[in-house]
Amino acid sequence: MKRLDCLKAIYPELEDCAVVTIMGAVAAELYSLGHRANFFYLEHAMGLASSIGLGIALSQPERKVVVIDGDGSVLMNLGGLTTLARSRPRNLVHVIFDNETLLSVGGGAPGGYKWFTTATSTGSDLAGIAKAAGYPRSQLVRELEDFEEAALDAINGDELSCIVAKVDAEMPKSFLMDVHMLENRFEFARALQRPPKDKREPRRPTRITKEQPTTIPALKSRED
């Protein structure tokens, strides 16, 4: 499963959410799908994306917050999972892309080669850890259609949820992001001043067959 395909699958749902991503590959890939003012890319301080998400979720309970995290970052702040679990914001979805490596800080190489793996490569189970920390919902997914279903359920749902998605340790096509960190920080805060739109009709997962795993019909026009 590719991170980029997962991001494409949930991109339409992120329109009205506060989205906080970690640094590196996932930030660059979300940016490549189309930057929005409600996306904040935490380019440093690994481990704190979920803490920032918690601060937003508690401050604006009516807005959905989606944290897009990674295995390396989460492992730097495992205690934070317990803080989220006990605070239990109903409006926070914690997506963790688990590529079993510290890819974006140099632990990976082109071609999916992993030379500095994380402990998830030797069996540490982040979905299990989140569940044991007290997340009401936590799920491990390995297939794109399962990811889409779980993520849409969580985003349209009303419960603190964690989705751990096993993904390839692949570099993004480009790390280029033409938005300065400070510009991003100020526009993000401004975007959160606008009240969230009324809840729209939840979208059901687009059924994707194995034969066409990377293209989601709803996003085709965007790609063209």
Partner: protein, 158 residues
């Protein structure tokens, strides 16, 4: 804290902070986030700031030292206001040997990071200093620290 608009407090307890944290916990207008480690509080405060809510962190010298990476990588790097109320252990009168080292290094580290800080020792100073600290944090988009002193926070048990 309420007089400067703080409605969200993240904290880890230590003996001097017990009353303050309990007051925050019992106040229906306050949200208390019980942290596992102080660095998380920097993230929580940043998120609150993005969402338009004023917050404060209650911590101790070693909590501050623990949170340094978050302070540098979030508050300073992204220019985010952060009000830290740090109980300043390890100064004159300290009986606990284990508090004496952290106390020594708090000010030099604050200075090294160019974080504005002032001591709070007298109850009359609390409200005006808190207001000044919050004003500076908001105008400079930076962390600021109030170092809560023994005379303000602690009475030796008789």
């Amino acid at each position: 804290m309420k007089s400067v608009g703080v409605t969200l407090v993240s904290a880890l307890p230590e003996t001097w902070l017990v009353h303050l944290i309990r007051m925050a916990d019992e106040d229906p207008q306050m949200t208390l986030v019980r942290l596992a480690k102080e660095e998380e509080g920097v993230g929580v405060s940043a998120g609150a700031h993005f969402a338009g809510v004023r917050s404060a962190m209650l911590l101790q010298n070693h909590g501050f030292l623990q949170a340094i990476n978050g302070i540098v990588g979030v508050s300073l790097l992204y220019k985010i206001p952060l009000l830290m109320l740090i109980t300043d252990r390890g100064s004159f009168g300290e009986k606990d040997p284990w508090q004496t080292e952290g106390g020594k290094h708090t000010r030099p580290v604050l200075d090294a990071l160019h974080i504005a800080h002032e001591d709070l020792s007298r109850p009359d100073d609390v409200e005006p200093k808190m207001a000044q600290a919050m004003t500076l944090a908001q105008s400079s988009l930076s962390p600021v620290a109030l170092l809560l002193q023994r005379d303000l926070m602690w009475e030796e048990p008789k």
